[in-house]
């Protein structure tokens, strides 16, 4: 590795924490709107995974590529997504980036390097790899692509094929596995039999990085190293973080299957609270200051939600119902 990696500073930490906080507050709002029956579609939250997710989004640069997954509200905001577009998508505003055609966790702005996941888990890994290959073919240097996946997603053929193909071409891909112990209800014991998911790295010949998913500092540091290694030509990097989602799989799920032992374990801590405590313990800010940030964020989120609720829904009669970009290829099916 040629360049030295800068340590995570106080300001890095606080900047990341504030994105975590925004994500947390926004997701709490989404959960409330869901309970109030105002959301179009499902709600799948990243509560408990903000430290990891924000660390991915925030350590990437302009020009990098990020393909977030289900639990990456934090990373999305860190990479440039907005509270406004998030709410537009969930509340079904016509002005949302997906125009009602798709939404929520499936949103993105591919032209900005912010890819829109498909549901089929694993699929974004070869996609980002291919994007990086195209950058290389264009002669562009130095961009990194990152994508996230869960413990369950590591069992997909797409994960395997994508990571392997990226490794063969030594593409600057960072795959971040949030091992939150469950895939929907399925515990790790029914998902894989290796000792640690990081044991997979050697089988692909990629870099291996472990993160404590409850610690913002560790996540920031680990992602900084992993992204740096990819950027400097080290080929794909696999990051595995241990953590727990602190909510059900979706807001419809009561999480009754959660093993209470896991909740009590080190994985079970709330990364937002730990980061907050760190800020206060280090004396960087007082508890009151931190509390005021939350209030600010809540106010912004609430105001945005109120505004978005007044926006129009997509109008089916205005939609061109076009799956193909070329107008000549759109067929007029008689009675459909």
């Amino acid at each position: 590795m040629s360049k030295k990696i800068a340590p995570v500073t106080q300001s890095d930490f606080i900047k990341a924490y504030r994105v975590m906080l925004t994500s947390r507050v926004l997701e709490e709002k989404l959960a409330g709107l869901y309970r109030a029956g105002m959301i179009k579609g499902g709600v799948f939250l990243g509560r408990g995974q903000e430290a990891l997710s924000v660390s991915v989004g925030i350590q990437l640069r302009r020009g990098d590529i990020f393909a977030p997954l289900i639990r990456d509200q934090g990373g999305r905001l860190a990479f440039g997504d907005t509270v406004l577009d998030t709410l537009r998508t969930y509340l079904g505003s016509q002005l949302g980036s997906m125009r009602g055609r798709d939404g929520n966790i499936h949103r993105g702005r591919p032209r900005d390097g912010y890819y829109a996941m498909i549901s089929h888990l694993g699929a974004m890994i070869p996609t980002v790899a291919g994007a990086l290959l195209a950058r290389r073919l264009k002669g562009e240097q130095g961009a990194v692509g990152a994508t996230c996946i869960g413990d369950g997603g590591t069992s997909t053929g797409a994960f395997h094929e994508g990571l392997n193909a990226a490794a063969v071409d030594r593409l600057p891909l960072v795959v971040v596995v949030a091992n939150n112990r469950y895939a929907y209800s399925t515990p790790n014991s029914r998902q894989y039999a290796c000792t640690d998911l990081l044991d997979k790295a050697a089988g692909y010949g990629v870099g291996a990085h472990k993160a404590d998913g409850t610690s913002l500092l560790d996540c920031l540091q680990t992602l900084r190293h992993a992204i740096h290694a990819a950027r400097e030509g080290g080929g794909p990097q696999l990051v595995v973080a241990d953590l727990l989602r602190l909510v059900g799989h979706g807001e419809h799920d009561d999480f009754a299957y959660l093993d209470p032992e896991l909740k009590k374990s080190a994985f079970g801590s709330d990364c937002v609270l730990l980061a907050e405590k760190h800020i206060i313990d280090e004396g960087w800010h007082t508890a009151d200051e931190v509390a005021s940030w939350r209030r600010e964020t809540e106010a912004e989120v609430n105001a945005t939600a109120d505004r978005v609720r007044r926006e129009p829904s997509p109008d089916p009669s205005e939609d061109d119902w076009a799956a193909l970009s070329r107008p000549e290829y759109r067929e007029q099916y008689s009675a459909s």
Partner: protein
């Protein structure tokens, strides 16, 4: 009252209870009881026979095939039909070819929670019956009633061929029945869901209910529409369809599938080739639009056929 979903659960319970060869395999179907609760309590009731799989559709189907070769009767659940594309290779190239190639049948049932619901979006709404019907070697069923959900799933487990069981998510909670039948039409036979004389609507799955509602709407205009529920799209009961068209002279095919190809095309092709003389007017069809299924409820409602778009098409058909 028994819902369509509960009928599916009860059919699996009965299959497990009566046939030691049956086992269930799929994501979250064990103690959790499945994403839709179609296997609720079954893991506890049948220890070791209702197994959570990893997140691996290809392996799920592949394992079912191997188990079937060894004489088991696996029922596997895809969490959504849409994810079956990740296990499609094993379905169409292995399960579907096994009997033809080796004379060893492949008695697996692949449950596909299918079709659109509000807010489902492009990846949780698909109807893939035409895809699986196109490849040779599969039985593809699309139960549209609580009774059929129950009896056809039991029958599917009993037959030696691989069955793609397209259960419609929109019907899971909407449809209810008082009791479950002991006897039923066999797979391969369509059913006259509503007798009529002026036109025939051929349909399947959730569209049966939209079609019946459309037929009801047309009663006010003085028309009696016959509605044929296909029940299985492969085999396709051409005889029942032709007999109905012989009575009515007019044919409207309705499907929630995308418009290119699919059940409506196949039904119209069969009637046109085998019953051309029965048709008093050009047949018609109503399908979903040729785009991914949109997630916004308002767009979704316009994307799929509904009672009112079906009724409008039927009126045009009646006035030709």
């Amino acid at each position: 009252m028994i819902t369509y979903l509960e009928a599916i659960r009860l059919a699996q319970q009965k299959a497990l209870a009566t046939d030691p060869r049956v086992f269930l395999y799929g994501q979250d179907i064990g103690s959790f009881g499945g994403a839709f609760k179609a296997t609720k309590n079954l893991a506890a009731e049948f220890p070791g026979r209702v197994l959570d799989s990893p997140l691996s559709e290809d392996a799920i189907v592949g394992m079912a095939i191997g188990a079937a070769i060894e004489g088991a009767r696996p029922i596997v659940e895809m969490q959504f039909a849409d994810f079956s594309t990740c296990g499609l290779n094993q379905i169409v190239n292995h399960a579907a070819t096994l009997f033809y190639r080796t004379s060893v049948p492949c008695p697996i049932v692949v449950r596909l929670p299918s079709g659109g619901t509000s807010g489902g979006g492009p990846f949780h709404s698909q109807n893939l019956e035409a895809i699986y019907a196109h490849w040779p070697g599969l039985v593809v069923v699309t139960p549209a009633t609580v009774e059929d959900a129950y009896t056809m799933l039991l029958e599917a487990v009993n037959i030696d061929d691989p069955v793609i069981f397209c259960e419609h998510k929109f019907l899971y909670y909407h449809l209810k029945a008082d009791a479950l039948p002991e006897n039923a039409l066999p797979i391969g036979k369509a059913r006259i869901a509503r007798a009529g004389r002026d036109a025939t609507i051929v349909t399947h799955g959730a569209m049966l209910h939209e079609s019946l509602a459309a037929a009801q709407e047309l009663v006010e205009d003085g028309y009696e529409i016959e509605v044929v529920d296909l029940r299985s799209v492969k085999p396709l009961d051409t005889d029942t369809i032709l007999a109905s068209v012989a009575r009515t002279g007019r044919l409207l095919c309705v499907s929630e599938e995308w418009p290119w190809g699919g059940v409506t095309a196949e039904v119209i092709a069969r009637v046109s080739t085998e019953g051309f003389g029965l048709l008093d007017a050009a047949p018609m069809r109503v399908n979903a639009k040729d785009t991914p299924v949109p997630y916004h409820p308002d767009l979704w409602a316009a994307h799929r056929p509904t009672a009112s778009t079906i009724a409008a098409a039927a009126r045009r058909l009646l006035h030709i």
